[in-house]
Symmetry: C2
Subunit: 389 residues, 2 copies
């Protein structure tokens, strides 16, 4: 078990009747607010109007950055930073899912930098200061509402990179499950895969022996998703299902379940190449990759960890030999993604062929190897991409 | 499911090699440190000397309040507050278990109040400001290292009361499992009961339907304790066992597992009377009370919740009728406390008789009823005390 530091300062308002506190929370940080959102679904569900009412009741002045893309672009971040500088913004208000929140986090840092925000994302220039960020979450998926990272895409050079800094954590996040009632079946499914993948990548399959408590708690989050994802898809306005999924998304990535562990975000690294090159939905890419990755790395050393997933979460018989149990675990996980959640199972279904796999595999490994329960070289990553075709 | 606010600002350094950061952390808050500790065990295990070395290397000036009692007294808190005022203390450093930390929390508030600290504990005077508090934990039990409450005893009028205020939360806590290697079997056992009882009282048996994820995670903490408490008792220097228990103690009470739930600390309320009148170890009192309380409240409405504990944590057959499964759950919990952990099982074993039960029962109910999975009146509480004889 590795020594670690745990700290998470985000204040979370969770529930149906919490938005009334948003004016008070924003006011703590100043009077000039930059509202950041995506394609306008927040207007369709009436959230925009409700927010404006609360914010204006407090006499705050609101500026807007709308049209944030899924896989948010560095160009949009630059646009937001310009508004912050020009309008002397005091506080950011991100309303949306992970893409919008990630964009806002990057804006919060870029507001204090005079060049292209991409310099901050690549680490060429360190983050010095950030604007305070308040979040209203509308999608259970990325965990960005309670973590300190963001992922930004640069379509000029087809890269999608993560930036992690303690200063990027939201000050306050509003989690109202009713704001996810209109999320469709496909996005609900992709979000649930993303939650599970954070746990696979950042904890469960990176684990060292010794922190049994953390592995156990990961498994309960898996079970929470396995139970409630189909319910939310069948009954989009089931409050309990949406609430359990929403709180699970935050806890999959807020630091608690990666304590004591060397993190190894191997599926995320492989997927980021897919969405950087083909702009696909992150959760869908993860669903296609994960079972193939597990099959590829399955051997006597990895079988116990992979079989434990099936035994604890998918009713695989604990008495089976580990290799058999592990194979069955992978099969059940695939069934969950592709049958229960109804996601497409192959890259070829998305019109993706193998022509860029070699360069994507090299990029995914960042010039070296991907550390994990079994380290992967570019040739391994390329082989895994091929298994997904 | 109830709306809730979750926020926990304590920064935790966890592990074997973290204490080197303590000087840096203290320095953030000033140069005059009040070190608060108990009976001197921190000197025996060499922790005192190690701390002094790190603190003095940073040029900080250290004052001391030692001899904090188990069940810390309001008189000791007053003594600490006097030192803070006289020596213009900038920051408190509590080194010990829950009693020492609780005392330090009360001192942190009393340092800004000119009267008797008991006025703050009773709520007669509100807490206005607090001194920053840094903690080095030496016992896995109370969760005080990561929560915002403290419990103080007044032996003059035989009362033991809790004070909860967001300002009381430690700024930083150092959790090094090796600092608990010398905790004896009895204190280890009592600490483990306290951890379980926080979950019973503040979450598991107060629960409303709907937050399945939280119930599941409680059960994993129960299993963590059921697995590692006997290991820590048999092998006091087993790092994994001590680490799992230590982190479990923090997570049982840091707010996460009581989200969405109306809290009902019924066993704690009944136990506080026992330790206020007879100065017994808190965890021992809880162990004696809990199975009798569950037996007393067992009926058709409570059987499902009680049987779930046994099914998930004590191998009780899920196919049994709920009443039978619930009875077996209580039996297995009793066996765990009194056989596996080796704790005394009756108040009469501690020399306690029934002469004060009537007044204790009234005090425990605070002039009304105790809210819980089944509300308790003073006559109920008295009956439960009698079951413990």
């Amino acid at each position: 078990m590795k020594d670690f530091v745990f700290q998470n300062n985000t204040k979370v308002y969770f529930g149906k009747n919490q938005l009334q506190h948003i004016g008070d929370e924003l006011k703590r940080y100043g009077s000039r607010v930059l509202l950041i959102y995506g394609g306008g679904s927040i207007k369709k569900i009436g959230l925009y109007d409700k927010l404006m009412e609360y914010i204006k009741a407090e006499g705050l002045q609101v500026f807007e950055l709308s049209g944030v893309e899924p896989n948010p672009r560095h160009t949009t971040v630059n646009k937001g930073a310009d508004i912050c500088k020009k309008e002397q913004i005091d506080v950011l208000l991100a309303v949306g899912g992970g893409s919008t929140i990630d964009c806002a986090k990057a804006v919060s840092a870029a507001a204090f930098y005079d060049g292209d925000c991409w310099d901050l994302v690549t680490g060429k220039t360190p983050v010095t200061m950030t604007l305070p960020l308040v979040v209203v979450l509308t999608l259970a998926a990325t965990g960005s509402e309670m973590d300190t990272g963001c992922v930004i895409s640069n379509m000029d050079d087809r890269s999608k990179l993560g930036l992690i800094n303690p200063q990027l954590g939201p000050k306050v996040s509003f989690l109202d499950p009713t704001n996810t009632f209109t999320v469709n079946a496909y996005q609900t499914a992709c979000g649930c895969v993303d939650i599970m993948s954070h746990l696979f990548d950042l904890s469960y399959f990176s684990r060292q022996p010794g922190f049994d408590m953390i592995d156990r708690m990961c498994e309960e989050l898996f079970k929470t998703i396995i139970k409630y994802a189909p319910v939310a898809i069948q009954e989009p306005d089931n409050y309990d299902a949406r609430a359990n999924l929403m709180w699970a998304s935050s806890w999959a990535l807020n630091g608690f379940l990666s304590t004591g562990i060397v993190q190894a975000p191997v599926c995320h690294a492989m997927e980021h190449e897919l969405s950087a090159w083909y702009d696909i939905t992150h959760g869908l890419g993860l669903a296609i990759l994960t079972p193939r990755w597990l099959s590829y790395i399955l051997d006597d050393t990895t079988a116990p960890a992979i079989s434990r997933l099936g035994v604890s979460c998918f009713d695989v018989d604990a008495k089976l030999p580990p290799m058999d149990a592990a194979r069955l675990s992978i099969e059940r996980l695939s069934d969950f993604f592709f049958k229960t959640l109804g996601l497409k199972s192959r890259l070829s279904d998305l019109g993706i062929d193998d022509k860029n796999f070699s360069i994507m595999a090299k990029n995914a490994c960042g010039g070296g190897e991907l550390e994990s329960i079994r380290p992967l070289r570019p040739t391994d990553v390329e082989a895994i991409y091929r298994l997904c075709l």
